[in-house]
Amino acid sequence: MATAAQQLPGEQSTEQRIRDVKEATRGVTEQYPREYLLKCIAEGRFPEDCWRALGEFGLLGLSIPEEHGGSGGGVLEMTALMEGLAEAGIPMLFLIVTGLARVPIVKHGTLDQIQRFVQPTVSGEKKLCFAITEPNAGTNSFAMTTLATRDAEGYVLSGQKVFISGADEADWILVVARTTKVSDVEHRSEGMSLFVVDAKDPNIRMQALNIQAEAPEKQFLVFFDEVRVPAENLVGEEGRGLAGMFDSLNAERLLVAAMSLGTGDYALKKAVDYANTRAPFGKPIGSYQALQHRMALAKAELEAARLMTYSAAASFDRGESAGGQANMAKLLASRAGTQAVEAALQTHGGYAFDRDYDVVTLWPLVRLMEIAPINNEMLLNYVGQHVLGLPKSY
């Protein structure tokens, strides 16, 4: 990802790095527990206080080098943060979005861009969201048509993006757009660039989507109608945006994995508590192997995916490329997370569907992790092609 992990004082073990981050995370989740998040979701508002607390506790500064006002640390620390939040019932979607938007700026941006756009996000005071998906492109980012045309003063951006999480909350949107039309490039992967766009620009219009993800962040269709973007807001080289983007995306997958793992554990804990007390036939339902084995298997699969997730995170932080491992970790973790929530659903019987039991409400977000920000089929495509050496399948 952005930079190799900052060297923390002394040589810290992986376990210690995870423990430090989780300890600070616990300070936030104990102040802002699951009930707080559910309240935000019910009231349709962003968990602003919790987000600010993450800033105050030095956690939003993770993966941002200390010389840029961050807390240092690398992929491993971000992974631990996300897992720590999710296992307390606070799966913070906006953290993934923030990671996706910040990493390319830290990695490919100028010092001025880092200071203007990334530094103020460390306290939570300013927010960045991320826009790549288009209605007619979807998984195939190369097919995007949003276009930024160069003129004397900078760029003029037109097009539309869909599913943009937290666009209403964001101060800036990191937009991936074409700077050369697909018909004018040799290869479809060329001609795309990254721009930091002022989310409050009057030529941007947003339309909320009717998404049921059981998360407090809302999704928007975002229309760009000849939005003026200053040339100094171009991140990295013109036309090389997606190439620069993709190599940092693999590491960000681990945040998705961590969110699934944490949510899975949170769901299992609920399932175990319920299974130990619910006894329609006189003995607790947790004593039935049909349920017990389902939970035990879910736990084993979560733990296996967790090992792979942190192992991949540590590899990235050592400067190794761990794309294959990270993709497989996200694939396995998202499935394990869903299976754990499924086990919790089965255990709770009919009550699982009572929203007040907060079980069915765990399902949409954990299931989404098998689809967004990248669907598991694409990960299998990657493994097939790049790990196993099979022909490209799509």
């Binding site: 002394g10 423990r19 300890e23 600070a24 616990r26 300070g27 105050e56 506790f57 956690l59 807390s71």
Partner: protein, 248 residues
């Protein structure tokens, strides 16, 4: 003044304790360990004294295995200036702990030793009292408020009959109760800073302490399961059931 605080590594209060099958103790395999919550309160008290300028130096002490360094690092993240780690892999009984704390007290000469009123693992509630006795110092246990005034401390104690306020001469041993304060949450920068603070490690033998083996745990058993309740139709039935059981 100089303040010494003892902190103990115990099973995290959120963990659902499992008794080992053979009754020889509780299962610690893969169980989350944390600082004893009453010691967190003692740490918070010490750090508040530092923030207020009442304390110049805060020293955290633990007696325990190598891994108890984690709890010392937490104490340093709270704001302790330095720490002492008395390393041992043995189960330490309250009297041994008291002997060690008394020895360290003599060495460091703090104005006050703060300890949690008890540790949530064995709930002995003895170490603070024994330490004071060994040092022949005043003690104020179960503190829910502490006010320092020169060479004295006014301590409000939570006792069975309510609240009792006593005055002790310093130096003294004060043990902390739940309502004394709400311990702060540790922030990442403080956790990182704590890594650079010094920990002085030593063994029980280094201190010339003889271990006290006074207690022998014969068996550990889970609490009896609660019997299922009964449903009653109305208030009259409730009252008559309670009368039957001699509850009213």
């Amino acid at each position: 003044m100089k303040v010494m605080v003892s902190v103990k590594r115990v099973v995290d209060y959120n963990v659902r304790i499992q008794v080992k099958g053979d009754g020889s103790g509780v299962n610690l395999d893969g169980v989350k360990m944390s600082m004893n919550p009453f010691d967190e309160i003692a740490m918070e008290q010490a750090v508040q004294m530092k923030d207020a300028g009442t304390a110049e130096e805060v020293i955290a002490v633990t007696i325990g295995p190598a891994k108890a360094e984690e709890q010392l690092r937490s104490a340093l993240a709270f704001g302790a200036d330095r720490a002492i780690h008395v390393k041992t892999d043995e189960e330490i009984q309250p009297l041994t702990a008291a002997r060690i704390l008394a020895k360290l007290f003599e060495k460091e000469q703090p104005k006050v030793l703060l300890t949690g009123k008890q540790a949530i693992d064995d709930d002995a509630n003895q170490t603070g009292q024994m330490t004071a006795a060994l040092l022949d110092l005043p003690q104020a246990t179960f503190a829910s408020a502490i006010e320092f005034d020169g060479d004295k401390a006014k301590v409000t104690r939570e006792v069975d009959s309510g609240l009792e306020t006593i005055e002790v001469d310093l130096p003294a041993v004060i043990t902390t109760d739940l309502r004394l304060n709400e311990p702060r949450y540790l922030k990442l920068p403080d956790i990182m800073k704590a890594k650079k603070k010094p920990i002085d490690a030593m063994s029980v033998e280094d201190l010339g302490i003889e271990e006290a083996v006074k207690l022998n745990v014969t068996k550990t058993a889970p609490p009896p399961e609660r019997e299922p309740g009964v449903m009653v139709e109305d208030v009259n039935e409730l009252v008559s059931k309670m009368k039957d059981k001699g509850l009213v």
